[in-house]
């Protein structure tokens, strides 16, 4: 839920990231509110991944002031990493470990205690209706299950923010929606969701959406407002109007 009065869980001010002479992020400034679903859109090569890596504490900006979950991006990267979850299209689950082993591994990395891990994985198996799959290798379970697993594992330590980088590529439309049910639920429980996608209908599930073009934020607002401002019937049209100028 987007609440204007909620605290800023992510603050980005004048973020610049250069690779040699190439400017990947060109003075980005925005805030994300606690508990909202924030859509981070842009064409391929617009600079999304670069920005996400910085927000997750995996890469330093060239310049700019950034706070994530109340921590400074330059001085408190380890604290940031403890307080965020991350999931990408290339699921970070281990194919040759079982479902339970993957849960135990990730929960262990975040320092969860053994009895907590047992309990959470039991709840998780129940919630995902995967009890029979507990001891199956990840490589042997369907793509849709893997995806739900990957998301659940990304929030197993109850982070403040979860970053989802194109989480729904390639799955069937029913699974894609079940996945968004999980996102809505996480958001209702107060986890802030920062998500990128190429499915423009998914952009409409977000509380607010930013659209990056050539390293800059070209628009940022609620889907409703963006559609109104650009005289568009859907987010797809908004996106095409903004991003079309750039042809690669």
């Amino acid at each position: 839920m987007y609440k204007p009065e909620a605290e800023n869980i992510i603050i980005v001010k004048d973020l610049v990231k250069k690779f040699g002479s190439f400017v990947a992020n060109d003075h980005l400034s925005f805030e994300v509110k606690k508990g909202e679903i924030f859509g981070f859109l842009g064409a391929n090569g617009a600079g999304k991944t670069t920005a996400i890596k910085i927000l997750c504490g995996l890469s330093y900006p060239t310049s700019g002031h950034l706070m994530v979950g109340g921590f400074d991006i330059y001085r408190e990267r380890e604290k940031i990493k403890r307080n965020i979850g991350y999931m990408s299209q290339k699921f970070s689950l281990y194919d040759d470990l079982t479902v339970f082993e993957n849960i135990r591994f990730y929960a262990g990395i975040y320092g969860l205690r053994r009895n907590v891990i047992e309990e959470r994985s039991r709840d998780l198996m129940e919630k995902l209706d995967m009890k029979d799959a507990r001891d199956k290798l990840i490589r042997d379970i369907p793509l849709g299950w893997k995806q739900k697993m990957a998301f659940s594992v990304a929030i197993i330590h109850n982070p403040k923010i979860v970053f989802l980088d194109e989480p729904t590529g390639g799955v069937d439309p029913v699974t894609r929606r079940q996945f968004w049910d999980m996102i809505f639920e996480a958001s209702h429980e107060g986890i802030t969701v920062f998500v990128t996608t190429h499915y423009m209908d998914e952009a409409e599930y977000c509380d607010r959406v930013s659209i990056m073009v050539d390293g800059k934020i070209a628009a940022l607002d609620t889907p409703e407002k963006l559609k109104k401002d650009y005289g568009a019937g859907s987010m797809n049209e908004v996106f095409l109007k903004l991003a079309r100028v750039k042809v690669n």
Partner: protein, 302 residues
């Protein structure tokens, strides 16, 4: 004669049934779309048609030639763009194109007309190594290479996966132009919104064809009464609607939900009242026309 004729093809792998009794025809000059998620069997089917994999049972003909017996001739006739980028990363754009032309015993200049529109967009980068190209440029180079021997049938396996909405639109414009030049095109995609751009679509899930028809026909076959519903709290609304007595399906579509009833008698104001009683605000209920995604999901849950 059909450009592609497939009769009762099945294929099993050690742990999975990849294709289950698949039959269909593609007419000459048609743009035919295979729509389905990852793991549906699209790639397996395309590998059989491109003579890279043998079917367990069944028969497939490309331009009247058998994919098993006449595989050499078929390879001369078709252009194939695999789902995974498969050009040589350490060769330049130009070198890749020349390489493919040479392999097929032709030259780039001989068939340049066919690829002009597409190749012109990446020509400024022709000295760049293919591995250093952006996703959109790789896709254009792969398409140029698949076309350079002037194939009569073009087979494209998920050319637009992971590609942004703008590049996808441009790619489909290119396909339309190629179709107009007479090439038969078979294309696979997980994006339901691309179905409407095909002459014929086959919806595929778990190795089975669920339906084959023109996109407009597919939509006409949607069987239930469908409504679009909105409220201020979509998450709670979805959950509440699932509890609505007599409901058949509830699926999120952007900022609205599409809901269907088998019972024709349920009216808009009944839905409105139900949500109001659950404390919803900003409620909007209107009749909706099914799209391909509605149809796909209906076929999936059937």
């Amino acid at each position: 004669m059909s450009a592609i004729q497939v009769e009762h093809i099945s294929k099993n792998f050690a742990h999975a049934k990849a294709l289950d009794d698949i039959s269909f025809n593609v007419s000459k000059g048609e743009l035919f779309g295979f729509i389905g998620p990852d793991g549906a069997g699209k790639t397996t089917l395309f590998r059989i048609l491109t003579t890279l994999l043998l079917p367990d049972t069944g028969k497939a003909l490309v331009n009247g030639l058998d994919v098993v017996k006449d595989y050499r001739k078929i390879r001369q006739d078709i252009g194939y763009m695999p789902g995974k980028f498969s050009l040589y990363s350490d060769l330049s754009v130009e070198e890749n194109l020349n390489f493919y032309a040479t392999v097929f015993g032709t030259t780039v200049s001989e068939n340049y007309d066919l690829i002009r529109d597409i190749y012109a967009q990446i020509e400024p980068f022709k000295k760049r190594k293919a591995g250093k190209l952006s996703g959109g440029m790789k896709q254009k180079l792969a398409l140029s290479c698949a076309l350079i021997h002037k194939p009569s049938v073009l087979i494209l396996d998920e050319p637009t996966t992971g590609v942004d909405a703008v590049s996808r639109l441009e790619f489909w414009d290119m396909l339309k132009r190629l179709k107009n030049s007479g090439i038969t095109i078979l294309v696979a995609t997980p994006y339901m919104d691309e179905a409407g751009l095909c002459d014929q679509v086959a919806l595929i899930q778990d190795g089975k064809l669920m339906t084959i028809s023109s996109p407009s026909e597919v939509i006409k076959t949607y069987p239930w009464k469908l409504y679009s519903v909105k409220s201020d709290d979509i998450f709670r609304m979805l959950n509440d609607l699932r509890m609505f007595p007599g409901i058949h399906s509830v699926f999120a579509f952007g900022q609205a939900a599409h809901i269907s009833f088998k019972n024709e008698g349920i009216e808009e104001n009944a839905i409105h009242r139900y949500l109001e009683n659950k404390g919803h605000t900003g409620i909007l209920v209107s009749p909706a026309v099914a799209n391909i995604e509605d149809c796909f999901m209906e076929l999936m849950i059937k």
